[in-house]
């Protein structure tokens, strides 16, 4: 019999890693990533579907190398520490659906929980409303969990199957580096303006994302779990990592002159409101989008980052969730459901109804 050991499992381990992720994320912003978007799982996956031609929002098309590198960083850590094992079968189709609703909700807010933290650290106060929504959404998820919510058991399968997601991500990473362009209407697409045109140098993005993926796999870093564990059992372990991320990102933003507090950035010379980067001030949508996302993440058992890292260590159901997120981003843009677009309020309402239904039909009586 042995005891749980290792620095990464300790309180200081997750605080240090959270702070480091905060520093690295803000550094990516300094080096060229869009404002308050050093790391955003939802935005980056959406940019990738844009690059692949799955949606036609011209300003958000770029094959972000960070997403594949996050997953591969986790894969490397799992292999190195002998934690890689393929498992799947815990309601994959439901997880695909939850990935879609999570993404759709996040895109109404304009960011996943990771970016919500970075927006907060950059002084974008709209993020506070989003984070309140996230807490409420996760809180509803906790109620379901307490009542016996379960998507059922995953089962171990041949380890070779687990190489599927790392292989797909390796292919994406390869494409991100060579960036083939077949001209008009053929992949890969690349934004000429807007967030999709802004990026840190590719090799630096890859290096930082590999490191983040590695460290997040070791510490089980999860922005949704941080909230859930506090609500469910007053466990502040994961939250201490997220707070460290925000604190470190805030300090780095001050150092780089990237801290601009306010719901907007004031008025320009012509009297027009300057928005915070990739943000809007419709607080009902900021709130509602993140309630939908938070509940979806809570029912699926992890934030969008955690799902990527789990997929990297062989969790096939988390991999399906990630593919659901990709799909959700394309649907969201194609049907004008992003930010304050006309169909955003509708999809938040419909999405919530369906995710609540998933919650109710997944309650287990007796067991659990």
């Amino acid at each position: 019999m042995s005891k749980v050991t290792g620095f990464f499992a300790t309180r200081w381990g997750i605080i240090l890693v959270g702070a480091l992720i905060g520093v690295l994320a803000v550094t990516l912003q300094k080096l060229g990533n869009p404002g308050n978007m050093g790391i955003c799982m939802a935005c980056f996956e959406r940019d990738i579907t844009g690059a692949l031609g799955m949606h036609r929002a011209a300003i958000v098309q770029y094959l972000r190398p960070e997403i594949p590198a996050f997953l591969l960083g986790s894969f490397i850590a799992a292999i190195a520490f002998r934690e890689f094992r393929f498992r799947s079968g815990s309601a994959p189709i439901v997880r695909f659906f939850l990935g879609m609703t999570a993404m759709i909700g996040a895109l109404v807010f304009l960011g996943c929980p990771w970016r919500a933290m970075l927006r907060l650290a950059g002084g974008d106060w709209n993020a506070i409303v989003g984070i309140v929504g996230l807490v409420i959404g996760v809180g509803v998820g906790v109620l379901f969990l307490k009542k016996g919510f379960s998507l059922g058991r995953a089962h171990p399968e041949r380890a070779g199957f687990g190489l599927m997601m790392p292989f797909i991500m390796l292919a994406l990473l390869f494409l991100a580096v060579i960036y083939p362009n077949y001209g008009e209407s053929a992949a890969l697409f690349r934004s000429e303006s807007g967030p999709g045109s802004m990026n840190a140098p590719v090799l630096i993005s890859i290096g930082i994302a590999l490191l983040v993926g590695f460290l997040a796999q070791r510490t089980r870093f999860c922005t949704m779990g941080a909230v859930r564990d506090v609500l469910l059992m007053r466990d502040f372990h994961l939250l201490s990592g997220v707070i460290a991320l925000v604190a470190a990102a805030f300090v780095m933003n001050l150092v780089f002159g990237q801290f601009h507090p306010g719901f907007t950035r004031g008025l320009d010379a012509a009297g027009e409101v300057i928005a915070q980067p990739a943000a809007h001030t419709n607080q009902l949508l900021n709130f509602g989008g993140m309630v939908l996302a938070g509940l979806s993440f809570a029912l699926a058992g992890g934030c969008p980052g955690r799902q990527i890292f789990l997929a990297g260590e062989g969790d096939g159901d988390a991999g399906v969730f990630v593919l659901g997120m990709f799909t959700g981003s394309a649907v969201a843009h194609n049907f004008l459901m992003v930010g304050t677009q006309p169909n955003a309020p509708l999809i938040v309402g419909v999405g919530l109804v369906f995710v609540l239904l998933v919650g109710f039909v997944s309650l287990e009586r007796g067991e659990a």
Partner: protein, 70 residues
Amino acid sequence: MTKTVDARGLSCPQPVIMTRKAVKDLDGGEVTVLVDTMTQVQNVSRSAQKLGWDVSFEEKNEAFELLLKK
């Protein structure tokens, strides 16, 4: 008699919830918890230790068996 919680294959935070439920009405004794990832070993350990249980584990048949004692 030793209580056994089989939480193999379940997502976060179900193994922890099941463990907490199992030990809730116990003043002491031994509880065995089965999980299948190191993450769950750490999560269950952390949670049980906070409730005053001594936790050790071993790897068995592609899964982990945690022994909680108080």
